[in-house]
Subunit: 348 residues, 2 copies
Amino acid sequence: MGALPTIHDVARVAGVSRQTVSNVLNSPGIVRPDTRDRVTTAIAELGYRPHESARRLRTRKSSTIGIRIDPMTDGISGSVLDRFLHALTEQAAAQGLRVMLFTATDPDDEIRQFARLRDGADVDAFVLTSTFHGDPRTEWLIANDQSFVTFGRPWGIDDMNDPTHLWVDVDGWWGLHEATTALLAQGRRRIGYIGWPSPSGTGDDRRRGWHDAMVAAGGLTDAQLTPLAIATPDGVTPGGAALRALLAGRPGVDPVDAVVCASDSLALGALIASAGSIPVIGYDNTPVAQALGLSSVEQPLDEVASGVLELLTGAHRGRPDAGPTTDPRHRLVRPRLVLRSPAPLPAP
Amino acid sequence: MGALPTIHDVARVAGVSRQTVSNVLNSPGIVRPDTRDRVTTAIAELGYRPHESARRLRTRKSSTIGIRIDPMTDGISGSVLDRFLHALTEQAAAQGLRVMLFTATDPDDEIRQFARLRDGADVDAFVLTSTFHGDPRTEWLIANDQSFVTFGRPWGIDDMNDPTHLWVDVDGWWGLHEATTALLAQGRRRIGYIGWPSPSGTGDDRRRGWHDAMVAAGGLTDAQLTPLAIATPDGVTPGGAALRALLAGRPGVDPVDAVVCASDSLALGALIASAGSIPVIGYDNTPVAQALGLSSVEQPLDEVASGVLELLTGAHRGRPDAGPTTDPRHRLVRPRLVLRSPAPLPAP
DNA sequence: TGTGCAAATTTGATCGTTCAAATTCCTGCC
DNA sequence: GGCAGGAATTTGAACGATCAAATTTGCACA
């Protein structure tokens, strides 16, 4: 009674062989309907479930995805990973895949973890977050023929159309384009941008979204736009400082009448510093933004998760050269603008 | 070259048998030092690592902990689970344990997931978060003799000293006692409390922390304290409403001059509604609190994680009746008060 | 009725490891 | 030198599943 039933027990009860039971589970098409029913009944009766480790040993597949969980560097946007993890786990489970976590102190350590998990046959695919240009992790994974997909573009030349690896990303350009356009529709004309220093793949992309929307609107020239964009490290305090600079203006540069930001952290700082005098739009739609009624650009993490799984389990099977070339090797999903009116906040 | 080395390859290179290699790995004490060295060298040379699935199949242990990842209900405190996950994964890895995620829509579904993971021999222990009194999940786990530890007390009578299962929790009483005491030391006398409706194990515990500190201070009687505590659902808006009520006072009830809250969500609402006029202290030290300079009570999630692992791998092995009775079956860790001065916020 | 051939099912081997039992090695002592 | 007895090591079997090949079944057709 204590022992769990094995495939052999099911076979005995159903009056068939082990292999037939295995076939019912793995390729039901090749077994005759009446035997299949008999086996299914026996499985239900005994409450049998295949022993995953035995299956993994034999098939040399773990059906497990490894993903690194960050040390929660920036608290505010940390929840993006959290929501992504949830979406990924949920959708993976629906396909019989498991999600295993690991931590790493730096990229080199992460590569050691890759090796450890691969050697132990613990996972057979990885999902990478926050990749950067020339990332040693993707290079290692490619060199070692590991199956993986990144959440984030490679940001190299031509990577969009001829990527060296599979990726899913959110179209930050589109997000900031939408945000800027929405402010323009509200009659704002001098819309500033607060983002990160170049070069930053994500950051530059978002800045271009703002820039292109402003140019399309036709009010300002390229030269007039340049002083409206501020590059600063991420964080609430830098966001506040940047906004004060934009509001103050300079000789020959008028103050801005709205601001879009590359992150909710920056936007929060800007919101506080602006004292609610001008509209501010952030990025990521974090809990902070939700709580304070800050407008923000929401990343559709469900779509990102399903895109990742498609690339992992679909024709490409997590490798850039495996699938047919007709099948796109990436997914670029569109974020959604969430407009809110800020809650009243206490004065200094 | 493609194939990973097996224990057999190591044995051949070292000139010993499979089992000796296995012994070097699992019980180094029983193998002679010089053979041990030879084997260790061969392992390093080949880069051998045991195939975890094969090992699990044979030993019937998975060395994997299962934990559910929540659907991110309340965004603000969601990051607590996130930080806990990170701490748990990190410390588990140090002990050769893996962490596997799963999702569930409700407690019954979660029980189905338990069964699935157990039957597949995927995990051999569970970590439960946010348990409640009479939780069907803990009952199922006990009835099915599963190894598990909860993050959160059972909240039943006598569970503290004679628990039916192993648990780790943060001492919310102590956290609110500290917060209240800190405000008393600043000269505040009429300190209000905003929390959740009774019965709520966590909530009632935190309220008692505030209550006991107030009583110890001696300024107010029990009857005078009652109107200073407000019970309301969690959230930013309810927090604001509660604070307005406390600030307005009533016939015979003077306004408060400070407030402690059961969560950062409530505290954030209170902070906004108070317009910075009185000090507010929250609970969880979430990113929002950090960003806005809101004082808060921080849960030491590293300690919680290590406590969970101790109970899981120590003498008790995740079961209430396994270890010696001298060994405590729970850990109650003390939170840390983080005092900040709020950043200036924009006016309505 | 027998034959051919595909479909359905069964059998034997195997994945990489550890357990249990058997064997060999070594050391001390008479 | 022989022998006892423990330490060190090796051997065969097993964990529970799937793969590959062998076998049996079922059906159409001559």
